[in-house]
């Protein structure tokens, strides 16, 4: 027992000596206050908050300088391409609709407006967009997701040439920035849905792409991406490799006397037609579109299980449905003859 009491007293002595030693060491530093240390705030004074440099305010000019561009080219042609090929095996269709523009001496900038199912969409699109536009492509990325932390913001800007955009409404600052970039000859990849599809069906398009196109006179290219949702859709913990297909549509321009809302609806309808084209064929899609048939992009407005049910059926017909099928099927030669 005595020995235990002794040990306790020794520990208390040691702690007291350590505390004393720290006080002795720290005493000279206490003399160095402001400006060596942050100022104290007088009572009753409210300090204005510092402007947030993240989110929509993240500065991305540096990411478009030559050195960053070289890094990005190497990144997209190397690791990103490898990842996209391994995970998604994209098949690109409809590029002939852009060849006239691509063959011009100075191809005009374009706004690419695909539907959005997965984080993979951006890397698939960057690989699918023809080189004439890929070099100067900027990607509109959700400010609240890709630019909420400094490391994410820096990586997004550097690797994807991403620009922060508010999901809910295109603010004046973002709009001006995009307009300046388009005026500089840069093309834009923007997801008009504002975010990934929660259930596999598309969400209603927001007017950002239509607004920018109407203001700048740059054509919008509707694009349908198929299959990425099944590979790495929203809520999936890890990717499941499969096949994807990217279908480019005819570039659209705002018509005279057409407001942004109608123009946006036209863009959405065009993406819907490409969706139909991917699960049926060009002629069926054209006839359905002309007949004003319900847009299959957003799916039916029914209960959630029926939406999922129909989606399963659609996926069976589209390219992702092929993931589970064997590559080769042998003809049925009838019962074996003995």
């Amino acid at each position: 027992m005595a020995s235990k009491r002794h040990l306790t007293r020794r520990a208390q002595q040691l702690a007291a000596r350590t505390e004393h030693a720290i006080r002795v060491v720290a005493k000279p530093l206490a003399k160095y206050g402001f400006p060596w240390r942050s100022p104290t705030v007088p009572r009753g004074i409210t300090v204005p908050e510092k402007p947030d440099t993240l989110g929509g305010n993240f500065e991305t000019d540096w990411a478009r300088r030559p050195l960053a561009s070289v890094f990005r080219s190497a990144f997209t042609a190397g690791p990103m391409k490898l990842m996209t090929t391994v995970l998604a095996r994209p098949e690109v269709l409809g590029l002939d609709r852009l060849t006239d523009l691509a063959r011009l001496d100075d191809p005009p900038p374009l706004i690419f407006a695909p539907d959005h199912h997965s984080h993979l969409d951006t890397s698939v699109m960057i690989q699918a967009i023809p080189p004439a536009w890929r070099r100067d492509l900027v990607v509109a990325a959700a400010a609240d997701y890709f630019f909420d932390k400094r490391w994410k913001a820096t990586f997004s800007a550097l690797a994807l040439n991403a620009i922060p955009i508010d999901r809910e409404a295109t603010g004046r600052q973002s709009a001006d920035l995009f307009r300046d970039l388009i005026d500089d000859g840069r093309s834009l990849l923007i997801y008009p849905e504002g975010g990934r599809s929660p259930d596999g069906w598309a969400q209603p398009f927001k007017g950002g792409a239509a607004y920018l196109s109407a203001k700048t006179g740059v054509a919008v290219v509707p694009v349908h991406i198929e299959g990425t949702g099944a590979i790495f859709g929203k809520g999936m913990k890890k990717p499941r490799p499969g096949r994807t297909r990217v279908i480019f549509g005819e570039p659209l321009l705002s018509l005279p006397d057409e407001n942004t809302r109608r123009y946006n609806a036209r863009i959405e309808a065009a993406v819907g037609r490409l969706t139909e084209e991917s699960v049926s064929d060009y002629w069926t899609a054209a006839r359905r579109a002309a007949a004003g048939a319900a847009n299959r992009l957003e799916g039916p407005s029914t209960s959630s299980w029926r939406r999922k049910w129909l989606l399963t059926e659609r996926r069976h017909r589209e390219i992702s449905g092929r993931n589970n099928r064997p590559d080769r099927s042998w003809p049925n030669l009838g019962p074996r003859q003995k």
């Binding site: 002939d96 011009l104 002629w283 006839r287 007949a291």
Partner: protein
């Protein structure tokens, strides 16, 4: 602004001229002070927005209502298009036909037309392979129509799907594809590479039967065709226009869409082929040397593969739609504006470098009969008013003329060469004696209908195509050609161009005038 075509008088400072020699080419020096070279105009610029031009043509047709007004839900719509014989070389994607047919289908979809058939207007040409159909029409159209059987190729030997629409006052019977005849509206998508293409010829030959085609594809018509590039002085076209009148009076409504293309035939690294020799840069010269030396050493098959793999960067220069005759006149104006070169007087010797391709060997072999057809049929006929060479003059062609035949595409050509040409080279005689036998041969018919073979009668037609040139020229010499094959065709072989001039002197004397038709690209000499 592209520079127009012109005639160069050769002097001592003129560099050697480029001559095609099948899958090879060579530079030949022409005698100074008595030779001239006809250069085509530089390639015209293409339309900046061909899609918009097509839509505009469909909305504002010539002498017809807009296509939109002609389409209604419960109609039978048939869309016909030119086969792989156009363009040469094949144009890079998207092909003009794809652009046109997609624009037509968009309007048909808006009108709710369900019954649409798309037919390749082959005539007696070989059936196109699926990859060729995909190239011409694009994957979207092919995938939408081919699987359910509404995209198919005309069969001129299917009695159940042919129908007689009437007869001209010359006794020519118009027998065409039944689906076309029964349609409420027929839309024809045309690529007009030369003045011979388009007009009534598209439908009246493209979806007709052998019986119908034999009225104008015969020695008599083709010997009186002056020339194929001038439809107003062509017996062939007169007959076709008469049949076109029968079609107009008794057949379905036809909405013709004709598109013209420029002459930008060769992509990099072959652009130097279209340049004038004295404007070749150091790079062009190096490319020529490297290419020529490589081709000399390559096996024929490999060289052929390279050339047939070329996709020409042709661009659409104009598009017109509406009533066939009105449309064709406008198209001809555009084609002539691009192709015509004025030439003073005829010549004693016409030299022609025959290339690796003709309309009848896309993705195939240029056999000796096609060499004759290309040289004496197409290249000789590149004139208006009168031929470049005087009557009784000499035509010198350069081509290896090897005895190679494509057994799948040209089966009847092999027998024609061995059997018919051994007997006669006279078109009239072979027409009388041999034509029907080949035309009605069951095996050739089977290969034409089910495989990818030209019709049994096709080698005759290819031979008749050169009938005018054969009749006009006093002598035909082929430089570098296989002597046996050349002699079989009734021509004279020569090893070099100098030898050819020496051989020609028997006919045209020691100091003849010489004219060289510079190919590529395409030109029509307007000979005064």
């Amino acid at each position: 602004m592209p520079r127009p075509g012109f005639v160069l008088d050769v002097d001592r400072s003129t560099p050697p001229m480029l001559f095609w020699h099948g899958e090879k080419f060579s530079l030949e020096r022409l005698p100074a002070d008595r030779s001239r070279v006809i250069y085509p105009a530089e390639s015209f610029p293409g339309l900046t927005d061909p899609q918009a031009a097509i839509r505009d043509a469909l909305e504002h047709p010539l002498d017809m209502d807009p296509l939109r007004a002609l389409l209604h839900a419960d109609m039978k719509l048939t869309i016909c298009f030119d086969d792989a014989s156009l363009s040469l070389p094949k144009m890079r994607r998207p092909d003009s036909r794809q652009r046109i047919i997609e624009a037509v289908l968009d309007l048909a979809a808006e009108a709710g037309v369900d019954d649409v058939h798309i037919i390749a207007a082959l005539g007696l040409h070989r059936r196109m392979h699926d990859y060729e159909l995909r190239h011409v029409l694009g994957n979207r159209i092919f995938d939408a129509f081919a699987p359910n059987g509404t995209l198919y190729q005309h069969d001129a030997e299917d009695p159940e799907n042919l129908t007689v629409l009437g007869e001209t006052d010359h006794g020519e019977v118009l027998e065409i594809n039944k689906r076309v005849a029964d349609s409420d509206l027929v839309v024809y998508a045309n690529v007009n590479q030369v003045a011979m293409d388009g007009g009534w010829k598209s439908l009246v030959t493209g979806v007709a039967s052998y019986r119908c085609l034999s009225h104008h594809h015969n020695p008599e018509s083709l010997q009186n065709t002056r020339s194929l590039m001038d439809r107003h002085h062509s017996a062939l076209h007169h007959s076709i226009w008469r049949l076109g009148k029968v079609l107009r009076d008794n057949g379905p409504k036809v909405f013709q869409i004709e598109s013209t293309i420029n002459t930008d035939a060769f992509p990099s690294p072959f652009e130097f082929l279209s340049k004038r020799e004295w404007e070749w840069t150091a790079r062009d010269r190096m490319t020529y040397l490297a290419t020529a030396k490589t081709l000399d050493r390559l096996p024929r098959r490999a060289a052929r593969k390279i050339f047939h793999g070329i996709e020409a960067p042709y661009a659409m220069t104009g598009v017109y739609a509406g009533f066939t005759e009105s449309v064709h006149e406008r198209t001809l104006e555009d084609v002539y504006r691009q192709h015509i070169v004025e030439v003073e007087g005829q010549t004693d010797i016409l030299t022609l470098g025959v290339p690796f391709i003709s309309p009848y060997n896309p993705e195939s072999i240029m056999n000796p009969i096609l060499v004759m057809c290309m040289g004496l049929g197409y290249m000789f006929n590149m004139y208006r008013n009168k031929p470049l060479v005087r009557e009784g003059g000499v035509i010198i062609m350069t081509h290896p003329t090897y005895r190679d035949f494509h057994p799948v595409h040209h089966p009847s050509y092999i027998d024609f060469f061995d059997e018919v040409l051994s007997d006669t080279t006279d078109p009239a005689v072979m027409s009388e004696k041999w034509e029907r036998r080949y035309a009605e041969d069951e095996w050739y018919r089977h290969l034409y209908r089910t495989g990818n073979a030209y019709h049994g009668v096709h080698p005759f037609y290819a031979w008749y195509w050169g009938a005018h040139g054969q009749q006009w020229a006093g002598k035909v010499i082929i430089v570098g050609g296989d002597p046996t094959a050349v002699r079989r065709m009734g021509f004279t072989p020569a090893s070099t161009m100098d030898d050819a001039f020496e051989l020609a002197s028997d006919v045209v004397g020691r100091s003849p005038s010489i004219t060289h038709l510079h190919v590529p690209s395409v030109l029509v000499a307007d000979v005064k």
